[in-house]
């Protein structure tokens, strides 16, 4: 009996050991993997949503870098608040290669490119690669990638062109490319996309006119990017848009209002909805600029951050009566019931045109604030607005064409187009005459304030290195940002831009 027990123990032990489970295949339960994702056609819309969500970069990292390095925005240190040399150095044009803000922009753009690459790779390998709707989604992802590469071209110049997911152990190089290659890549992608993108699309999704716009934008900057102007091609693409159903809105502020959905002036929007999501999660420009004391006035659930303002010279470039100056919060601030507002230290809230302090030690109220996108509608969590951000808009089409005409034919050649845009800015129209490039640059500043075009404009008009408040004349090489040191550390194949 005892032996039977013994043997049965031994036998069962050995059996157990021999057949011991060695199955280690454990897959995620709350995430998808390639084995179960994108098996249905409707999932591609989810994938596309994921790619569009990378547009959040526009209101955060790209905004900070492109705006504060220009003459329309500044982030001063307000005591301990916002005391961050990388931000102040952007305005002073003294940024270093390790500037975290610049790296943030580089990485955020890269994130968008990578998401698009993965999504397009998924489509190519799926059963739906030839489906007509999925093909449009593929084109949209490809457009977003071209848009991010356009920004790379504009900000960093020479970057590696990567069109599929990369293997971290075999990093790409930019040694065999130059800025012209990146330019050519963007142009050829966009030319293809004008055929692949649809004539119209759902609101919030790009159509072929977004590609025409970006072609026009790339061509108008061609001289900066490659040394060779392409003004006729810029005009040609502007004309495609002028002949489309996109048009100027009668009311300037409605273009940016919280209920600006389907506004025909907006060709490409970064769409935001406070309740359901916000394409990223970084719609924070209003938070950047508003003082904490203004929280109640705009019905915001969380206190804003009191950082960014504009500078005096930019504020003064607006003439009295210009309706576009609704964006400025200047002087003493009152609440919605007319009561005096205070900053968080109990001082009256009174935004000054010129700084009382300076960029390294400003007061809480220093600087005029810029609120182009006024919060409205049902606001939920901290950083979400209902306003859709106008990334490309029709007014720019007209002013780009005007610019090309002036550059080709001299001052005055763009007057009609310029006044077309300017008309709605005044109750009684105040047309400009014989507009030259300097005046056009100023007009572009008034029209596109805080829409992320200023740095690009200043460079194209040759004014980026000039001095302005809290900024001295800067070196010419600063028209390109450095390839961030963090990127060179991560990928020694990268080559630094000249001058850095």
């Amino acid at each position: 009996m005892k032996n039977i027990i013994n043997y049965s123990f031994i036998v069962s032990f050995l059996l157990f050991s021999v057949f011991a489970c060695t199955d280690l295949e454990v897959l995620p339960d709350s995430q998808l993997t390639s084995s179960n994702a994108f098996k249905n056609k409707n999932e591609f819309l989810n994938g596309l949503s994921g790619v569009y969500s990378t547009l959040g970069v526009y209101g955060d990292q790209l905004f900070k870098v492109n705006e504060t390095s220009s003459d329309e925005a500044i982030v001063p240190a307000r005591g301990a608040d916002w005391k961050a040399p990388p931000l102040q150095n952007l305005h002073k044009h003294t940024w270093q290669v390790s500037n975290g803000e610049i790296n943030g922009a580089y990485e955020a753009l890269s994130r968008g490119i990578a998401q698009a690459n993965i999504f397009m790779g998924v489509i190519a390998e799926s059963d739906f690669a030839d489906d007509s709707e999925v093909k449009i989604m593929n084109a949209e992802a490809r457009f977003l990638r071209a848009f991010y590469y356009y920004n790379m071209l504009d900000m960093f110049g020479d970057v590696p062109i990567v069109t599929e997911p990369i293997d971290p152990s075999d990093p790409p190089s930019n040694k065999n490319t130059d800025r012209t290659d990146v330019y050519n890549f963007v142009i050829s992608e966009l030319e293809t996309l004008t055929l692949e993108l649809p004539e119209t699309n759902d609101y919030g999704r790009v159509d072929r006119y977004a590609a025409y716009f970006l072609l026009a934008k790339t061509y108008i900057n061609a001289e900066v990017f490659t040394g060779n102007p392409e003004l006729d091609k810029a005009i040609e693409n502007c004309d495609k848009l002028i002949n489309s159903s996109y048009q100027l809105s009668d009311d300037f502020s409605s273009v940016f209002a919280w209920n600006n959905d389907n506004n025909l002036e907006n060709i490409f929007v970064w769409r935001s909805d406070s309740q359901t999501g916000n394409w990223g999660s970084s719609y924070i420009i209003h938070n950047f600029t508003l003082n904490q004391g203004l929280q109640q006035r705009y019905g915001m659930p969380n206190a804003p951050w009191n950082g960014f303002s504009t500078i005096g010279s930019f504020y003064r470039s607006f003439s009295p009566g210009d309706l576009r100056s609704y964006i400025f919060l200047e002087g003493n601030q009152l609440g919605s019931n007319g009561e005096q507002l205070f900053d968080r230290f109990g001082d009256t809230l009174n935004f000054t045109i010129d700084y009382v302090g300076d960029i390294d030690n400003a007061t809480q109220s220093d600087g005029v604030r810029v609120l182009k996108y006024v919060p409205g509608g049902n606001l939920s969590a901290c950083c979400f607005l209902n306003n859709d951000f106008a990334v490309f808009r029709f007014a720019d089409v007209l002013l780009m064409k005007a610019e090309a005409l002036i550059r080709k034919n001299g001052p005055g050649a763009g007057d009609e187009l310029i006044n077309n845009v300017r008309e709605r800015a005044f109750t009684t129209p105040q047309p400009l005459t014989n507009v030259d490039l300097d005046e056009l640059l100023a007009e572009r500043g008034r029209e596109f304030a805080w829409e992320l075009w200023r740095r690009n404009d200043l460079i194209r008009f040759g004014k980026f290195n000039d001095s302005w408040e809290y900024k001295n004349q800067s070196e010419p090489f600063r028209t390109l940002f450095p390839i961030p040191q963090q990127q060179i550390d991560a990928n020694p194949n990268l080559e630094q831009n000249p001058g850095y």
Partner: protein, 980 residues
């Protein structure tokens, strides 16, 4: 579970009864060679009937003729005596030197301490003054060389950071593996995910706080690789083995332990008083004088009751216990309450050939939490706001409502009262093991265990509160289940031939860990009436996470003992982990150790100076796999928010957020250890000294990813670091007599960490700086330096204009990034502890003093408080008030890096044990008073130099950063133990 305990009690009690036949009463005296022995167990074999000798060694017992008496006493050989015709049986016991030896618990077994070849240390709970301990690992503090514990927070039940022999990893966790009664447990708990709003942050609950310290018999710390390699891929950070108490044959008793403690904060931070504040700010002040720290701190009361029952006969022994703990935090609104029940049963069958052991414990716990935001943000938590709040403002308005006077400073008392935040849960750990002796020398053991922790969190930020108001209230409900299932089977074979012995262990283990979390966040309430119990509000967001990982292992150990002189241990473990890709799942972890008992050599035979002298050498390879679950795999996140609206349709986004690395592998630590155990002058002095060198390579490191990629970093096996150190453990029996017993223990550990290799040699920064307007990082991980090194500018002085002056390191007359240097390190050179236990007659007196040297802490709290721009509106200290108006001081300078060396009088206990000889029913009664954390000698200016908030980045953990950390408690405790 509680029902199960109740059901089992009657069953257990049945074992206690036995049948009586022809009875008679025998009596006698039990003694050894020199004196009578009190407290000797005498048991009738096969029953649970028995008695214990009295103070004079006498006993009497009702028996039947032919019964066999089993006489046992700790330290003596057990005797069996058959009752004959006689009525008086005097018994003489012989000392058993073998049995006297300390037995230590090791991985998959036990061994005699004297036969140990690895570096391990064990503490017996009965020999230490526990004080008001809520979590077992805290008992190691100052008692075991090489263990450093730094609390994340002083909140009751908060997580502790435990490091054995330094820090081994940069991106992965350096927490040791915990094994409770043979069950490796998982302590990872997810943090509540509420998007980018940190308003619910608070300390994570320590899963070990669910083990009642009173139930613990011993804690063993396995330190070197030869001891931990049997745990393979989880052994690199050391292993802590906790053994709970079980029943003893023939000894039945009921014990009751209780204490009451009163605690307060040990220290307050210097700030301007209301009058000082008024002298600097003359307008906009309130009329009150409020010390906001006093308003949020309180005298905290802790009560603890525990009741245990133990008993059993030769075949069955049990111990059951039930405990209750209610510990108030020193900050208002914080509390920990636990109720736990445990039942350990040992049962043997077939003449002891089959032994079955059940351990089951259930803990119900609940905590009250506060917002204890430790990083980032300007809104801050309760402590942050108490340090910020204007001292001229009253707590309450005249109408009794809370005073809120500014948009960026919240009334901390209101925050604590208006936000309801609690965690509640039940953790059940049950295991059953069966060991069968197939042959005398061959046994098979099967071990099954289940560990389930069901946790729920409830938060309601009321409409009245400053943080809930703007969003019309917020409710959060989270349900989480963390579970782990274990199946182990192993085989033990031992063989003796002449003076040599061999034992072999071989086994298989399967363990799976599951996490299952759901939470719902609702905002937009119309009233506070229903709190978090009805979440039908304007907006709701829900989230769920379920994931698992599995570890499958084969392991073996061989012990060879040659002539009582040479001991050889070899272990091998093959681990397969689902955390890694199919190509890299299996790893092999070997170790070998050799010990030489020099004292047993012939040439030592003629000396009596050394009673023990043993040299140990060991080398082994262990791993660390404390990383997330699917880092090798490309995963697609299905998110609710952040997606796009196409037309009128919101579309959930699929997004890729991490870069898979199919080549991932374990981090590997190779450790060499050489140690000497000794005992001299008849063991009056015993101790050990160990030297070790640990090399950790293939570090699991988040390295910068080449772009364009979906993430800025990816996890790879890159880099190397070393820890080199010495550990000393000395015991001195200063006095040993019938009336006096005095034992001293001194332990000391010295450790140096050095980073040897990093990705492309690039520095890594971590230690995120917090505070209004703060940015950047305080720590650098750099080749050639210790992990946890602080980095920044060297502060010299404040110049005549009030500006900070920093040292121009490179003498280029510009202070820029190139002038930054290493400013200190957060890891101590030396950690030491001194324990003294003195007993005289009924009195016992114990002291634990411990300290650390050669470490710094970044006092981020002081850096923020001292900002001159805090005035007016936010309180500051004198230094800040005297600064230039609206000025900002640099956070990244040596000005805030403080020497955090300290000496602490950690525990001092005076107890008296009553003479209960005359009271037959009362076995033992002791009253004691303990003071904890009584004195700290340190230059550190924060609440406590032992601090380590979580200021890490996604790349690297940080060490020694203090930012408004919950302060440690100082307490006085009155306790009572009685047993019947």
């Amino acid at each position: 579970m509680k029902r199960l305990v109740l059901l089992m009690f009657p069953v257990l009690l049945l074992f206690g009864t036995s049948l009586y036949g022809q009875e008679k009463t025998i009596s006698g005296n039990v003694s050894d060679a020199t004196e009578s022995l009190p407290g000797v167990n005498i048991l009738i074999k096969g029953t649970s009937t028995g008695t214990v000798t009295d103070f004079d060694g006498n006993y009497s017992l009702k028996v039947n003729e032919g019964d066999v008496l089993v006489v046992s006493y700790l330290g003596y050989a057990t005797q069996e005596i058959t009752v004959g015709a006689q009525d008086v049986i005097d018994i003489s016991l012989l000392e058993d030197t073998q049995q006297l030896e300390e037995i230590v618990v090791i991985g998959y077994g036990t061994e005699k301490k004297s036969d140990a070849t690895g570096a391990l240390e064990s503490i017996e709970a009965s020999k230490i003054n526990k004080g008001a301990t809520t979590s077992p690992e805290m008992l190691l503090n100052g008692r075991v060389a090489g263990v450093q514990i730094s609390p994340n927070s002083g909140q009751p039940g908060a997580e502790q950071n435990v490091r054995i022999r330094g820090v081994n990893s940069i991106s992965a966790s350096s927490e040791p593996l915990y094994v409770i009664d043979g069950v490796p447990i998982d302590n990872n708990r997810s943090e509540i995910a509420v998007g980018n709003d940190a308003a619910v942050n608070s300390s994570k609950l320590n899963p070990l706080s669910m083990i009642a310290p009173n139930d613990i018999e011993s804690i063993t710390v396995l330190k070197d690789a030869s001891a931990t390699a049997i745990y393979g891929s989880r052994g690199a950070n050391g292993v802590i083995i906790i053994k709970t108490k079980s029943g003893v044959a023939g000894f039945s008793s009921v014990s009751y332990d209780s204490y009451l403690s009163l605690g307060s904060v040990s220290n307050k931070i210097d700030l301007l008083s209301a009058d000082d504040y008024r002298s600097f700010v003359n307008s906009g002040n309130g009329n009150a004088s409020t010390d906001w720290q006093d308003e949020i701190f309180r005298s905290a009361i802790t009560t603890n009751h525990s009741l245990s029952f133990t008993g059993g006969g030769n075949n069955t022994q049990y111990r059951g216990s039930i405990g209750y703990l209610n510990q108030e935090g020193v900050v208002i609104g914080t509390n920990l309450e636990t109720i736990n029940g445990r039942l350990n049963v040992n049962q043997s069958f077939f003449e002891d050939r089959l032994k079955v052991q059940y351990n089951i414990s259930s803990t119900r716990y609940s905590t009250d939490n506060i917002i204890e935001q430790q990083t980032g943000g300007v809104s801050g938590g309760i402590i942050n706001n108490a340090l910020k709040a204007d001292p001229t403002q009253p707590v309450l308005n005249a109408d009794g409502s809370f005073n809120e006077w500014a948009s960026q400073v919240f009334n901390p008392v209101a925050l604590a009262n208006q936000v309801d935040d609690m965690t509640e849960g039940n953790r059940l750990i049950g295991s059953i093991s069966a060991e069968y002796n197939v042959l005398e020398d061959l046994s098979i053991k099967v071990n099954l265990a289940n560990d389930v922790d069901n946790q729920k969190r409830r938060i309601f930020q009321s409409l009245a509160s400053a943080i809930g108001g703007p969003i019309s209230g917020r409710a959060i409900r989270e349900e989480a289940q963390y579970s782990n299932q274990l199946l182990e089977t192993y085989l033990n074979y031992s063989l003796k031939f002449k003076e040599n012995s061999l034992s072999v262990l071989g086994g298989y283990s399967w363990q799976e860990f599951d996490t299952d979390v759901t939470n719902v966040i609702a905002t937009g309430f119309d009233s506070d009436n229903l709190g978090f119990n009805n979440i039908n509000a304007q907006n709701q967001n829900a989230f769920a996470l379920k994931e698992s990982n599995r570890l499958i292992s084969f392991f073996g150990r061989l012990n060879l003992n040659l002539g009582y002189k040479y001991l050889i241990t070899a272990t091998l473990r093959g681990d397969g982990s689902s955390k890694f890709g199919p190509e890299n799942r299996w790893g092999v972890f070997p170790s070998a150790a050799f010990a030489w008992k020099i004292v047993n050599e012939g040439f030592m035979a003629n000396q009596d100076f050394f009673t023990n002298l043993k040299l140990r050498l060991g080398y082994g390879v262990t791993g660390n796999q404390n990383i997330g679950n699917f880092r090798y795999l490309s995963t697609v996140n299905v998110n609710q928010v952040g997606g796009a609206v196409f037309g009128n349709q919101y579309v959930l986004p699929y997004s890729y957020t991490s870069i898979p690395n199919p080549n991932l592998q374990w981090e590997e630590t190779s450790q060499f250890n050489i140690g000497l155990d000794f005992g001299i002058i008849k063991d009056k002095i015993t101790g050990s000294i160990d030297f070790y060198n640990k090399v950790t390579d293939n570090l699991l490191l988040e390295v910068p990813a080449p772009q364009p990629s979906v993430s800025g970093v990816y996890l790879d096996n890159i880099g190397e670091m070393t820890n080199t150190g010495v550990e000393l453990n000395l015991n001195y029996s200063a006095l040993r007599s019938k009336e006096w017993n005095w034992d001293l223990n001194f332990n000391l550990a010295y450790n140096q960490n050095e980073i040897k290799e990093l990705f492309n040699g690039n520095d890594i920064t971590t230690g995120v700086i917090s505070g209004a307007g703060a940015a950047g990082q305080s720590q650098i991980i750099r080749v050639g330096e210790s992990i946890g090194s602080f980095y920044g500018f060297e502060f010299e002085n404040i110049d005549g204009n009030g500006a900070e002056v920093f040292r121009d390191i490179n003498n280029d007359d510009i202070i820029d990034d190139n002038d930054r240097v290493i400013l200190g390190k957060a890891l101590p050179d030396v950690v030491w502890g001194l324990n003294s236990r003195l007993a005289h007659k009924g009195f016992d007196f114990g002291i634990l003093i411990r300290g650390q040297n050669g470490l710094s802490v970044f006092n981020n709290t002081r850096a923020e408080i001292t900002q001159p721009s805090r005035l007016p509106g936010q309180n500051t200290n004198l230094e800040g008030a005297q600064g230039r108006q609206n000025d900002a001081y640099l956070y990244t300078s040596s000005r805030w890096i403080e020497d955090a060396s300290f000496i602490k009088l950690d525990n001092i206990t005076l107890g008296y044990t009553f003479n209960t000889e005359k009271l037959g029913f009362l076995k033992n009664a002791r009253l004691y008073v303990t003071a904890q954390n009584l004195i700290i000698i340190t230059d550190y200016l924060g609440y406590d130099p032992e601090v380590n908030i979580n200021a890490g980045t996604s790349t690297a953990l940080s060490y020694g950063v203090d930012y408004t950390a919950y302060p440690q408690i100082r307490s006085v405790l009155f306790g009572l133990n009685v047993s019947f």
